[in-house]
C-alpha cells in the first residue's frame, strides 16, 4: 500500500548508510510532515509513529536515471502516477523519464507539462528532453529552453543519433547548459533488423541476430566524438563486453564519460529467450553469458557508474504478439533492487556497493551534488533487509503493465519500506 500522511515517523534501531560520504552509523531518524526533522538520539513522544528498524539498512532513496512512464500519449501502458507508484515500491524516490512519449518531450512546453503534472507525485520526476526535434536525429531541439524548464539531460532515447555531426553539435551545445547527452548506442545498419543477440542461439531459434558490434561500433564513435569536442557523454544500458572494454579504455585516458547498466543485463542472458518469451525482448538485447560477466566486472571496477532500470512498460496485447512484431522493453523498477542485490553480492560486491550504484552513481552521472538526510530536507529514505529471501511475484508489480520475465525469480535482499516526502510504502509503515 502507498500511503500519504503528515504523521511524525521515528525510524529507530537501524543502520544508516550514507553512500555520498561512504559512512555507516547506527542512528534514529525522525520524519515530520515529509521532512527530515532530526537524525541522532531521539526520544519517542506520543505523536510519533515508531518504526523498529533493528537489523535493517537505511539508505537515501534510490535514483533511476532511465525510465519510461509513457505519458503523454501511451497512458494504456503507464502514466506518471502509476510509474511513480512502481518506482516508490521499488525503493526509488527520484526518476528521470525518457522523452519517447507521444508527442516526444522535445520542447520547453512538453518539459513543463511533465514538471507541472508531477508536483505532487509519490516520487520526484525529472524529465529528459530529446536531443533532436521529434527524436528524428536531424535538427537539434531547444536544449537551452528545455533545461531552463527543468530537463536534466538530453537523449533521443531508443532512437540513436545516427548522424555523427548532429551528435557533435549536441555534445558541444549542451555543455553550455551543463547536462549530459545520452545516446542509445546502436548502429542501425549493423543491427540489420536483429531482434536478439546474434550467435549460435539466434541461429538455433531462427531469429534475426543483432550483433554485439552494433553497440560497440556506436559507443566507439560516440567516445571519439566526445573525446574530440568535449561534452558530457553518458552511455546508457551498456550490454556488451566490447563496449565495456572501450569505455574502460577512454575512462583511463581521462575522458569524462559515464555509463549505466540495467538490472536485466547484469541478471539475465539471451538464454531467457529459449522459449521465445517476448517479455525478455529488450533493446539492447539480452546478451551472452560472457557479456553479462563483463558488465558485472565493469560495474565492480567502476567502468560503469550506475544501475538504471530502463523500465519500459508494454501492454499485454503488445507482448502477446509474435516475437518479431512484439515491442522491446521490460518493466524493472519493482524488481531492480532484489535482482541487483542478489547478482552483485554473489559476484563479491557488498550491499553498500549496490546502494551506491543506485544512489551516488546516478547522482554523479546527472551532476547532482547530494547529501544524505540533512535536517529540513525532503525525506527520501529506503529501509532494506539485506538478508531477506523472497520471490518476485506479480503482486509485487505496481506498474500499469506487467511485462517482466523476472516474475518467479528468487532474490536475497529486499526493500522493506520507502519514504518519499509525505508518501510511504511498505510493511513497516502500513
Amino acid at each position: 500500500m502507498i500511503n500519504k500522511s503528515t504523521q511524525s515517523i521515528l525510524l529507530e534501531g537501524g543502520t544508516l548508510f550514507d553512500p555520498f560520504q561512504n559512512k555507516k552509523r547506527n542512528t534514529s531518524i525522525l520524519i515530520e510532515n515529509g521532512l527530515i526533522k532530526e537524525v541522532g538520539e531521539i526520544t519517542l513522544s506520543k505523536k510519533m509513529k515508531k518504526v523498529d528498524c533493528k537489523g535493517k539498512l537505511i539508505s537515501p532513496g534510490f535514483i533511476d536515471i532511465h525510465a519510461h512512464f509513457r505519458e503523454p500519449g501511451m497512458e494504456d501502458k503507464e502514466t506518471l502516477e502509476t510509474g511513480s507508484r512502481a518506482a516508490l515500491s521499488g525503493g526509488f524516490t527520484r526518476v528521470c523519464v525518457m522523452p519517447n512519449t507521444n508527442p516526444p518531450l522535445d520542447s520547453p512546453e512538453s518539459i513543463r507539462f511533465i514538471i507541472e503534472k508531477t508536483i505532487d507525485m509519490p516520487v520526484k520526476i525529472f524529465p529528459i528532453g530529446a536531443i533532436t526535434i521529434n527524436q528524428q536525429g536531424i535538427e537539434m531541439a531547444e536544449i537551452g529552453g528545455m533545461v531552463t524548464a527543468g530537463a536534466v539531460a538530453v537523449s533521443d532515447d531508443g532512437l540513436p543519433v545516427q548522424n555523427g555531426q548532429v551528435l557533435r553539435y549536441a555534445f558541444e551545445y549542451a555543455q553550455k547548459y551543463g547536462v549530459p547527452v545520452i545516446n542509445h548506442a546502436e548502429d542501425i545498419c549493423l543491427k540489420n533488423g536483429g531482434v536478439m543477440n546474434e550467435g549460435s542461439l539466434s541461429t538455433k531459434l531462427g531469429l534475426p541476430g543483432n550483433p554485439d558490434i552494433s553497440e560497440s561500433v556506436m559507443v566507439h564513435r560516440d567516445l571519439e566524438i566526445a573525446d574530440y569536442c568535449g561534452g558530457r557523454i553518458h552511455v546508457p544500458h551498456v550490454s556488451t563486453r566490447r563496449s565495456v572494454d572501450l569505455i574502460r579504455q577512454y575512462k583511463s585516458r581521462g575522458l569524462n564519460v559515464t555509463a549505466e547498466v540495467t538490472p536485466h543485463h547484469i541478471g539475465l542472458t539471451e538464454a531467457n529467450l529459449l522459449d521465445y518469451d517476448t517479455n525478455a525482448k529488450v533493446a539492447p538485447p539480452l546478451r551472452s553469458a560472457s557479456d553479462r560477466e563483463a558488465v558485472i566486472e565493469g560495474l565492480i571496477d567502476g567502468t560503469i557508474d550506475c544501475i538504471a532500470t530502463d523500465h519500459a512498460p508494454h501492454t499485454i496485447e503488445d507482448k502477446e504478439m509474435d516475437f518479431i512484431n512484439s515491442p522491446c522493453g521490460m518493466i524493472g523498477l519493482e524488481s531492480a533492487f532484489g535482482l541487483c542485490h542478489t547478482v552483485m553480492t554473489n559476484a563479491g560486491a557488498s550491499s553498500e556497493d549496490v546502494i551506491k550504484w543506485l544512489t551516488k552513481g546516478p547522482a554523479t552521472v546527472m551532476g547532482w551534488k547530494m547529501e544524505a538526510l540533512q535536517i529540513g530536507q525532503h525525506a527520501e529514505i529506503v529501509i532494506i533487509d539485506t538478508d531477506k529471501k523472497w520471490t518476485f511475484n506479480k503482486s509485487d508489480i505496481k506498474s500499469r503493465s506487467n511485462n517482466s520475465p523476472i516474475v518467479g525469480m528468487e532474490f536475497t535482499g529486499k526493500v522493506i519500506s520507502v519514504i518519499s516526502g509525505k508518501y510511504s510504502f511498505g510493511i513497516l509503515l502500513d
Binding site: K204, L205, G206, T278, E320, N325
Partner: protein, 312 residues
Amino acid sequence: MSVLKNKHLIGLEHIPLEDIKKLIDTGFTFREVLDRPIKKVPSLTGKNVVNLFFENSTRTRISFELAEKRLSADVANFTANSSSLSKGESLKDTVQNIYAMKMDCAVIRHPSPGACVQLTKYVDAVIINAGDGTHEHPSQALLDMMSLKEKFKKIKGLKIGIVGDILHSRVALSNIYGLNKMGAKVILCGPPHLIPKGIHELGVKINSDIDEVIEWADALNVLRIQRERMGIGIIPSVREYRNYFGITQERLDSHKKEIVILHPGPMNRGVEIDSSVADGDQAIILDQVLNGVAIRMSILYLLLGPDGGDTN
C-alpha cells in the same frame, strides 16, 4: 497419449531420433496408400484440423490439405495475409480462433520464428509447424529424409550438401537437426555472409566451394534463392550466384559422378538450378512432392490418430 514423445511438431531440434525414424517409416506406409486406386483411409474420421497460413504458400498448404483429407479428417482453411500481422494482430487472436472453431489440430505457417512455440503456451490443440519464419520447417526435412531413404535405402553415413542462403532458410535448419540425428554428414555451402553465425556448433561443416562439395556429397539439397534478395547488395546478381553456387548442367557434367539432387521448391530455374538438372535423372524433386503428402499423413496420424493422438 501420443505415440510420439512430443504432443506437437514444432521442430526437429526437440524430436528424439526414435520418433524421427517412426515418422519416416510410417510415411512409407502411407506412401503405399497413395499408390492405391482409392487413396483414402478413415484414420482421422471425426478429427478437426485447421490450416492456419499467415504467409503465402501453395505446395505446403495443398500437401497438408491432401494429407488431412486422405486421412478423412474434417478440414478448415484460414489464410491471412501478412499485412494484417504487421498491423499488430496478436497471436492471442489466432488462438481464440482455434478455440472458437473447436479444433483438434492446427497446422500453422507464420512469418515470425517461434510463433508455433508461443501458441503452444496458450492452446490445447495439437500444433504442427508448417514453417515459422527462418526457424524450422520440420515436415519438409522429414520428407527430404524420407526421399533420401527411398533413394539410398539408408540415411546413416550419407554425405549431404545443403546449398544456398542458409541464413534465411528454415528448410536448412530442420534438415541439419534431422540429418544429424539420423547419422548423416552435412556440409553447408553458400555465400559466406549467408551462413549464420555459430551454426558450426550444430555439428555441420561449412565450405563455400560448390565444386568441392559436389565432389564430396552423395546428395545436394538445393535451396530456393529468394529473388528479392538479389541486386540489393545481398546477392550481387543472378549471374554471379549462378556462376559460383548454381547447380548447372555443365558443373555436374564436369564432375563425372552420380549425385542426387533435392530441391524443396518452388524452383528458380536458371538461378540456383538448371532446368535440365531439375528435370534430369539425378533429381528426385517430384518424389519429394509425393513423399510430402505421405509424410504429412504420417505426422497427422501419429499425433492425432487412433494409435496415437489424444483420443478423448
